[in-house]
């Protein structure tokens, strides 16, 4: 008989694999998101040119591109379940917490794939100075985690509404502002050789707060 902890882990893992498999089979989500991210990046690069000496602007632009990419793609997880009418199936095989964590991990993986393409391209196109890799990646990692956890939760909320994708951007943005601000500040800081400890702490704290809220809220989200 499975214990509850191992069932939880099994459910999360099964959901993650299922998401990856369905995403891989259709791939329209990933393609569209990659295209969107690259288009945004290209527009920014066209408009702003090379900004090698403007660490403040570079940080801001990088995170605007990542923010837009998230807003355009991270709601798919839940919206597709609702539109495909598979949410009932999901709820019958896994606990709300397992669904939440599984979707979060998928969103995180998705975001990481986007970043693997977008971030190097950004650094090259914008003529950015070489980053201090440790701090840069730390901000990137924690910022992505904060983006993904907030987006997953908001995605679950708006999936059952009518606006869905259109609503997702507007509804997530206010919540994501602290993340973007801290991430921009941290990215700028690592180029200016400043200390970014407080930004990292803020991002970590934010993620913890959102995850904590998610755990409490997920049971309520699908009582219908």
């Amino acid at each position: 008989m499975p214990t509850s902890a191992s069932s939880f882990a099994a459910a999360v893992w099964a959901i993650l694999r299922k998401e990856c498999r369905t995403e891989w089979r259709t791939r329209y989500g990933l393609n569209a998101s990659l295209l969107f991210a690259i288009t945004t990046l290209t527009s920014v690069s066209f408009a702003a040119g090379r900004l090698g000496d403007r660490a403040d602007l570079l940080g801001a632009l990088l995170w605007i591109v990542l923010l837009f990419a998230s807003l355009a793609s991270l709601h798919h997880g839940f919206v597709r379940e609702v539109e495909g009418h598979t949410l009932t199936l999901l709820r019958l095989v896994a606990s709300p917490a397992a669904i939440a964590v599984g979707k979060l991990l998928f969103n995180l993986a998705f975001l990481l794939v986007l970043e693997l393409v977008t971030v190097p391209l950004f650094l090259v196109l914008m003529g950015a100075p070489p980053p201090a890799w440790g701090p840069f990646l730390a901000v990137l990692a924690l910022g992505s985690l904060a983006l993904a956890s907030t987006s997953t939760l908001v995605g679950a909320i708006i999936a059952q509404t009518r606006g869905r994708a259109a609503l997702f951007a507007g509804v997530s943005l206010p919540l994501l502002l602290p993340v973007v601000a801290a991430a921009v500040s941290g990215t700028r800081g690592q180029w200016q050789q400043g200390s970014i400890g407080s930004e990292l702490k803020l991002l970590a704290g934010f993620t913890a707060a959102v995850l904590g809220a998610s755990i409490l809220l997920y049971d309520h989200l699908w009582n219908d």
Partner: protein, 228 residues
């Protein structure tokens, strides 16, 4: 409903003390739509038919029993093997099949069921899935994508999912829909088997299915509109 400790899935056939009780149970989707207050008690082993006009709340009642919906009023208690099961944990003891249950279009029949068994953390996942598929007559169709199935075959897959874990409580909403005569015989067989090992609740207006039941819940509310 709070997330409670997952109850260990009950597998043995000797789960004779099963009871589902509704106390002033009601649900309101919007003014005038939903399930009117109802009191009932049904006990297993046996088959219960839930009947009533369209829109009166049969599907709503079944969703509440399965733990998928939290009622706006009253309560619904499910006791299996003498242990009450909270709504958050009902999926471990309830097998559910309904028209609104759909599967992943991009996955094959086998992959869909395997996902279900893997998510439950059951070892021997493959065997349970294969057995269920054989039971409902989908044995040769494991590799077909769900999107490619006809409505009758989709309904069989729903039945396979419902019986997948040999649940003590089987909840079926209009199980005969889209099925041919062979399919309806399948439903009758499944209900007979469930009658011995546990409790089945079937929402239906089909006389053939009603005749299979030995208990009945008749809903007589207002029932206008579709609880979507």
């Amino acid at each position: 409903m709070s997330g409670v400790q997952l109850a260990t899935p009950v597998r043995s056939a000797a789960t004779v003390d099963i009871a589902v009780t509704g106390t002033a149970l009601m649900h309101r989707y919007a003014p005038g739509r939903g399930l009117d207050p109802i009191d009932f008690q049904v006990a297993g082993p046996g088959v219960v038919a839930v009947t009533g006009r369209n829109g009166v709340g049969k599907s709503t009642l079944l969703r509440i029993v399965a733990g998928l919906l939290q009622p706006t009023g009253g309560r619904c208690d499910v006791v299996v093997g003498g242990v009450p099961r909270a709504p958050g944990a009902r999926r471990t003891c309830v097998g559910y099949g309904a028209p609104e249950l759909s599967f992943y279009d991009e996955l094959t029949v086998a992959e869909n069921l395997k996902f279900a068994t893997e998510a439950r953390g059951d070892a021997g996942a493959g065997a349970a899935a294969a057995a269920a598929l054989a039971e409902v007559g989908l044995a040769g169709r494991e590799r077909d994508r769900f999107a490619a199935l006809s409505s009758g075959l989709k309904q069989r897959l729903r039945l396979a999912f419902a019986i997948l874990f040999q649940p003590p409580v089987l909840v079926l909403d209009e199980p005969g829909s889209h099925l041919d005569d062979a399919g309806r015989e399948l439903v009758a067989r499944l209900l007979e088997r469930q009658r011995e090992r546990g409790l089945a609740l079937v929402a239906t207006n089909d006389e053939r299915e009603v005749r299979l039941a030995d208990q009945r819940i008749e809903l007589r509310g207002r029932g206008v509109g579709d609880p979507a």
